[in-house]
Symmetry: C2
Subunit: 355 residues, 2 copies
């Protein structure tokens, strides 16, 4: 089958790792490079005899041929790589999104490059680099809360395949968002259903699109029940545990105190709950706590947190689908993930008001 030459080459290969090229495979199979290229990537017009075909396949196999990424990318002007750019890599919630992006990308034949978002350098730089240098074909981008929308607009080349997560820029980029309004509504309705009327909101910063929409959902639910959202029942401190603690400290000073609170983020809710403990406020007897977003941490607080499960994973997956569609069909879309809907997970941090 194979002469001494081939066997010798094999032995050499085994110890060294010089990359095997197409032409080496061609030489071994005794055909031209183009023949190998065609066979190996299964070009539509497979006009090759079964024998040569097999010879090529064998040669590639024996040589452990791997197509060179850079060469392909250069020729195709495509890398099959998607960039994922987010402001905070360390957020546990982000990992769920990232997971969705990862899976989605893999399903579409892409890999994911992490985009670093320097706090000092403008976001625009990252995008321009990644896309401009052709390192990635498209981008899944979570714009920083409070980024200047005009600046974003400017930089978003409408021809680039960019999908925004948790924000929209109609006509400039695609977007995918989860049902934040629904999330805020569901949490609030649960509390209303329990009989609460003095329901506070520990919200995110006002510049955050998700915070705005969760607040909107909260207020809609209140009004629908004939309740009036009161400004002094609302904080807009942010999504971290410490900010959740601070929110409770403020809310606790009210008189009369709210009997329930909707927290716009589970991390903040975990902090708020810990602070309740520290302040000697009994949850849920004196205060019911419901949070938007779920996570394993919510199951392991005391009491376990009633939470609204949001589709972060799906958002990541959908976002990838969106970029890919953009890449392949040029379509620019704004999607909201409504199905599956935000799902209430009742645990033990909520109960009817005691008074």
């Amino acid at each position: 089958m194979s002469g001494d030459d081939g066997a010798a080459a094999d032995r050499r290969r085994a110890s060294a790792t010089a990359p095997v090229t197409l032409s080496e495979v061609a030489a071994r199979a005794g055909v031209s490079v183009s023949a190998v290229s065609k066979v190996l990537r299964g070009t539509a017009t497979i006009r090759v005899s079964p024998e040569t075909r097999q010879r090529i396949l064998d040669a590639a196999e024996e040589l452990r041929y791997r197509p060179n990424f850079a060469a392909r990318a250069l020729q195709a002007a495509r890398t099959q790589v998607l960039g994922l750019v987010v402001p905070d890599l360390t957020n546990a919630l982000f990992t769920e999104l990232m997971h969705g992006v990862e899976d989605g990308a893999a399903a579409h034949g892409y890999t994911v490059l992490l985009g670093r978002l320097d706090t000092d350098r403008p976001q625009t730089e990252v995008i321009a680099r990644l896309l401009g240098e052709g390192r990635v074909d498209g981008l899944v981008l979570q714009a920083t809360d409070g980024v200047d929308p005009a600046a974003l607009d400017q930089l978003l080349d409408p021809r680039a395949a960019v999908v925004l997560i948790n924000s929209v820029a109609r006509g400039r980029a695609s977007s995918v968002t989860i049902d934040d309004v629904g999330g805020g509504r569901v949490a609030t309705e649960h509390l209303i259903g329990l009989g609460h009327t003095r329901i506070a909101l520990a919200g995110g910063q006002t510049t955050s699109y998700t915070a705005q929409r969760r607040r909107q959902g909260h207020q809609e639910a209140m009004r629908a029940a004939g309740l009036v959202p009161r400004a002094d029942h609302e904080t807009a401190l942010g999504y971290t545990a410490e900010q959740g603690r601070e929110a409770l400290r403020r809310l606790a000073q009210l008189d009369p105190r709210p009997t329930a609170v909707v927290v716009a983020n589970v991390n903040a809710a975990v902090g708020l709950l810990a602070e309740a403990r520290a302040l000697g406020i009994d949850v849920p007897r004196e205060l019911s706590v419901a949070t938007v977003l779920d996570s394993w941490t919510a199951e392991n607080t005391w009491p376990p947190l009633t939470a609204v499960r949001m589709q972060l994973y799906a958002m990541g997956e959908t976002a990838v689908g969106s970029v890919v569609r953009r890449l392949e069909a040029g379509a620019m879309t704004d999607e909201v993930i409504l199905d599956p809907a935000p799902e209430l997970v009742v645990r033990e941090s909520t109960a009817p008001p005691s008074s």
Copy 2:
């Protein structure tokens, strides 16, 4: 300065986004491509007159030239990309490591590609692809707990720039580990110092290298204090919250019960604490809990968890340094991050035994 031609081209550019190439810049500056290439990348031998130099710089600037990634990679046989391959993207602790890797990579002029670790496909496949296709120059790899070391050995081409996180393969790849032994020791010593003698260990799975070493540290501390580690005081269930809960359920059946427990992972500790609550075990009065690894969640449990802060971020950063050194100097090393040392953070989940 520039004729109509240039201005017209500019306008065209502004609306379209056809990638600008070196030769376009050359044309605009009225020089050759090689001249542009040299000037733009600051080749050592800058033999170019100041005027042409400036002309080139201006042209590149005006055209918003960006070097094409694929072309460079092909030519240099280098991508300036590092792969990060871990078993579980969704683990909050992993994000700290990832952050370190990200920062380290950026500092060395690399970007990070996320490696997907299919549960079904062998780890070897990922590595072979990433490295074999030249998608990345090197790899930071956290081998799955319980991966067959022999298999790993086999696949790790000693010429490849791979650094192992949390495991070692002497002579086959570089490695970086944190001081797990120290972590287990510090947590245990704290408990001993408080006066405990019946100290249990809620450990990780025995196949896990980190679990083995944290256990080792625990036992060393016990013996050093004249205490005998008892097999029935040890569980080896794993690092998740649920596994932590299960560990406590088992430990709680002992008679006499341990008065303290070292948990090998903070996620498990959070679960264990929640379970203590559920079982009506008072922490720290009836049971002191100290955990290896710290995280924001540990501050927000009730009571807040005494924890040993480990250098995950540093491990990520160091790992990148290690690959880069491998790439540039061929050095293969095994490093243990001992400085800064594991640091005990005393909170409220530990106290002297009450009896």
